[in-house]
């Protein structure tokens, strides 16, 4: 098995939590659909083709952080009867983000193909917003895997709160005092009626966002270590 790690920097990004409507709240890390979309854009694939490309054979990892946050007021036009009117919505935007994305596969040719695509993307890469440009800082390939036992600023498959409650001894952790939940059930697979057509959620999976001011030590997850950062894997 080989693993491609891509290091990304961005000035602004937003990862919409679909459970919110007029206020578009952002996850603190890119969810799985965002990294599939990013890789698909690099490969020049449609949303449907991107999903098909990663449907099997891949494991993923996400680690990262950001420096600031804003509630961005958006104004848009909509049709009411026969008149256009303005309306507003608020979108949460993260600033000065830095992320590490891992793609692991037994098929080394796919890993190589993906690396080349990320270094020379067909479409400019973005994180969330179509203008949230992502700079590819570095790509590298490794075959060295570890048990990640220190989880910080990363996406973890499942509900880590339940795992902590199941085995409270032997763990060291801090979970921030926040109204936001730690775990979300996230859409991970869709039915598309065409390459760029309407999509409907066909599968959801629970993930935990270990974000700012939170960490868990002692909970073992298979993954990689890169630049002293542990990136646990997950499957879709």
């Amino acid at each position: 098995m080989q693993c491609l790690i891509v290091e990304l920097a961005c000035q602004s990004c937003s990862f919409r939590n679909p459970e919110f409507q007029n206020f578009h709240k952002s996850y603190e890390l890119p969810p799985p659909t965002t990294i599939i979309g990013l890789a698909g854009a690099a490969l020049g694939l449609s949303p449907k083709e991107s999903q098909d490309y990663f449907d099997v054979d891949f494991e993923f990892g996400i680690n990262g952080s950001y420096q600031g946050k804003s509630n961005d007021l958006w104004k848009y036009q909509k049709l009411k009867g026969k008149e256009y009117i303005s309306d507003i919505l608020t979108r949460e935007i993260l600033f000065e983000g830095h992320f590490y994305i891992a793609f692991a596969s037994e098929i080394s040719s796919k890993i190589k193909e993906l690396q080349e695509a990320l270094e020379q993307p067909v479409f400019a890469l973005t994180l969330g917003n179509s203008d949230g440009m992502a700079k590819v800082v570095k790509t590298s390939i490794t075959s060295e895997f570890i048990e990640c036992t220190e989880l910080r600023n990363c996406l973890v498959e499942g509900n880590v709160m339940e795992e902590i409650l199941d085995q409270p001894t032997g763990l060291e952790f801090s979970l921030r005092d926040s109204v936001d939940p730690l775990s979300y059930e996230i859409p991970v697979a869709f039915h598309y009626d065409s390459n760029y057509g309407i999509r409907k959620v066909v599968k959801r999976k629970e993930f935990s966002f270990i974000g700012e001011e939170a960490y868990i030590k002692g909970l073992a997850k298979r993954g990689i270590k890169y630049n002293d950062i542990q990136i646990p894997f997950f499957k879709l």
Binding site: K69, E119, M133, K135
Partner: protein, 297 residues
Amino acid sequence: MELKTNSITITYLSKVSFASLNGADKEVDNINPIKKVTLANEEQLPYVSSQAIRRALRDQLGSSGWPLSKIEPPKSPKAPVVTSLDPKEFIDDDLFGFMDASGRTNRTSPVRVEGLLSLSPYKGDLDYGTNFMGEGILTKEGKRVEPNIFETEIHSGFYKGTILIELDRIGSGQGFEEDGELAPEEKTKRVLGFLDAFQNLWSSGRQTRFLADISPKFVAAAYMKAKNPIFLESVQIADGNKVNLDQLKQVAKDYDRFVEDYTLAGQSAIFQNSDEMNSLSEGFDKIRSWVHEHYKA
């Protein structure tokens, strides 16, 4: 694999002397706030959203004489309004893209526009104003109209933004399937028109009282064989209004495999180390030469 040039990336600095650039949602009556990022240390950095920059660029293109796409009703009742969806006819549908949710057609913008983020924090400055529009006028009840007082958040400093032009997608691809792509001459014309709009960028909000020039005063631009905004987070200002040129040269060197050419250019009136960089005029001439080179027959 042979690498081919396909894009231009530009990270730039605008200098704002005294402005209220991008209005935020009000939290307090009679105070007009500006959009700000809150950092972990509670500092706040003003910013101009990418939406606002796109709007300013589009308006500037219109001011330069380019016909612009119109807002059209959607094809189905529940869909949002759309533009003309005609990238062949309209430069803004070409450069800025579109989406028709009902027809399920879209064009991903080949021009990526990051917002402008201040390099210095907001210090709480407010401009105090009074609206005297009703002075001397009586209401229906015969009472004198009172003036309204208000305050506006203002900020001064350098702002950093990035633009990436996907040259290989201008005038081609999504939306051009039926009519065929534009001729190289037209592609050149459109990108040059965009560069002119960018070089003369003008914010469209609150100009009556705050003349805000957000045109670039420094550009770090590269003609690229990969669509990567290599200078995105790298442009910084040191004491004495000096741009960190050595670090930017190192960035270009780090991405040497993908950089066909680059320029670091700025205005001597603003930057103390302008003798170490090209003039802004020379910088934009270099960028224009890349456009001509890319689309030459």
